[in-house]
């Protein structure tokens, strides 16, 4: 099992079961975690699935590509080091234990 924890802006922890091949955004959606809007459904076109990755995990995730970096530049509450678009991270087995927090506002 790939345990992924989403921490919402109110501090609540949502422990979910990830599945390899899904995006992090999809894992959140299937577990009904609030705060990830993903209006474009994962097409890397809207930046409303922005998350902050736990600093200890940043280096273990595949790097963001240019498209993601460019969109992130325009998201709210961005942190250069930890911000990612959750639709662009494909879950793999070695992400067991991953923790990400969801900012209060998307868009």
């Amino acid at each position: 099992m790939i345990k992924i924890t989403f921490i919402t802006a109110d501090g609540a922890e949502h422990v979910t079961e990830g599945r390899a091949g899904l995006s992090l955004m999809e894992v959140a959606r299937m577990a009904d975690v609030p705060g990830i809007l993903a209006e474009c459904g994962g097409a890397c076109s809207c930046s409303t699935c922005h998350v902050h990755v736990d600093p200890g995990w940043v280096a273990q995730l595949p790097e963001k590509d240019e498209m993601e970096a460019d969109l992130l530049d325009f998201a709210s509450d961005v942190d250069e080091a930890t911000s990612r678009l959750s639709c662009q991270i494909t879950v793999t087995v070695d992400m067991d234990g991953l923790r990400v927090s969801i900012p209060a506002e998307q868009g």
Binding site: L22, E26, R29, M30, A31, D32, E39, C40, G41, A43, C44, S45, C46, S47, E66, M67, D70, L71, D73, F74
Partner: protein, 410 residues
């Protein structure tokens, strides 16, 4: 207990029902949909799902248990046939009835089919609106087969991209003088056309389909307005949609290019509301209807608030995207009424953006593989600001420091 019926379990309907709960409505919610499946996203139908790169479960907008958790009664595979507005009673196609206190119509749009007179009623001709449509045509996508796509709008072009990528032989006919005539400038059409030609798609513009004939299981023979004929193994029809207003008509609602609503999502009946593809609404002094996911969600959520007496006017902030091959086209704003298009080369090879102006006012941006241009344009348009066109045209002026025109009323 008060009861809200949401009719049409698509993008707008599911957003509206969910928002009612978020806003604290604790009455009964029934979400009724004609399709046999829970609410799902349509955009991938002509993109990743059609390409076979996305499993069905990834299409669903919410997990099935969401509706139970939120105490939303989801009724699928059920079409509402009529509304008696005086008694607020819905009559289903199977004759059963349901009474309610308020109604939200989120019935979407219906694809326009090829008329039977052109041979449009034969098997092997598909429209592209629903999951059922996508699943029905999936077995046709076999390398080497020939597909004729009728209609050069975004959906037709996306289907062409998937088919060409899968090794099919693709011909696309567009009756208008050029593709994307209704939605984009010639500059964007030129760019997209060149991309498709590069992938071997035969695009014929200013060319109408005059008839489709088929003998038995053999290929179709299409007769085109330029006098030529061509053979195809199957046909995809992407010639647009009509707002789904039949149900609204049974309730006697005012229609105007869709169900006419005001900026609060109110129809001409005080207990009936509408949002999404089926609804036309006031926008900058005109009445428009948008066919896009962001509009479906945002208008539905604004309308939910209205229904609970918490409404604020809905101000559309249009944006859209289209994926074709490895190109991401992102569109901010609405270009209606533009008189000038500025072409701006992007930072990377193959990236470019087109900026639509009316006078000095920025209306819209089409960005091809250029998310920075898209986001910059989107932020400016939403803030009611316009960059100087000359600065936009000069690729050496960074997007972040585009000089702005003195504020001009949009």
């Amino acid at each position: 207990m008060s009861h809200i019926a949401v009719i049409g379990a698509g993008q707008a309907g599911s957003a509206l029902a969910a928002k009612l709960r978020t806003l604290g409505f604790d009455g009964r919610i029934t979400l009724i949909g004609a399709e046999p499946v829970p609410p799902y996203q349509r955009p991938p139908l002509s993109k990743k799902y059609m390409a076979g790169e996305m499993a069905l479960e990834r299409l669903y907008l919410r997990p099935t248990r969401f509706y139970d958790d939120q105490d939303i009664t989801l009724v699928t595979d059920t079409r509402v046939a009529a509304i008696d507005a005086d008694s607020m009673t819905l009559r289903m196609e199977d004759g059963s009835t349901l009474s309610t206190d308020q109604i939200a119509l989120t019935t979407g749009a219906d694809p326009i089919c090829l008329p039977p007179a052109l041979g449009g009623d034969q098997p092997g001709i598909y429209t592209m609106r629903s999951l059922a449509d996508a699943d029905a045509m999936a077995p046709e996508f076999v390398p080497g087969r020939r597909v004729l796509i009728v209609g050069g709008g975004y959906i037709g072009l996306e289907a062409a991209a998937v088919a060409a990528s899968k090794g099919l032989t693709v011909t696309l006919v567009e009756m208008a003088p050029r593709i994307l005539a209704r939605v984009a400038a010639a500059e964007t059409a030129d760019w997209i056309r060149a991309m498709h030609k590069g992938h071997g798609v035969d695009i014929r513009e200013g060319c109408a389909l005059n008839g489709l004939a088929r003998s038995g299981d053999g290929p179709f023979t299409a007769t085109l307005s330029d006098g030529s004929t061509l053979e195809a193994d199957f046909v995809i029809c992407g010639i647009g949609v009509r707002p789904a207003t039949a149900l609204a008509e049974t309730a006697g609602l005012a229609l105007d290019n869709g169900i006419a609503v005001d900026e609060f999502g109110r129809t001409s009946h005080d207990r009936i509301f509408a949002a999404g593809d089926c609804a036309s609404f006031p926008w900058k002094g005109q009445r428009i209807r948008l066919e896009s996911v962001p509009n479906a969600i945002d208008q539905a959520e604004a309308t939910a608030a209205t229904m609970l007496g918490q409404g604020a006017p809905y101000v559309a902030r249009p944006w859209f995207w289209s994926d074709q091959y490895d190109v991401k086209l992102q569109i901010a704003g609405l270009n209606t009424g533009y008189d000038r298009v500025i072409v701006r080369p992007g930072d990377k090879p193959g990236s470019q953006s087109h900026w639509y102006f009316r006078g000095g006012t920025l209306l819209a941006v089409d960005a091809m593989n250029d998310p920075r241009a898209y986001m910059t344009g989107k932020r400016l348009i939403e803030a009611g600001q316009s960059p100087l066109p000359e600065a936009v045209a000069d690729a050496t002026t960074p997007l972040k420091s585009l000089p702005l025109a003195a504020s001009i009323a949009a």
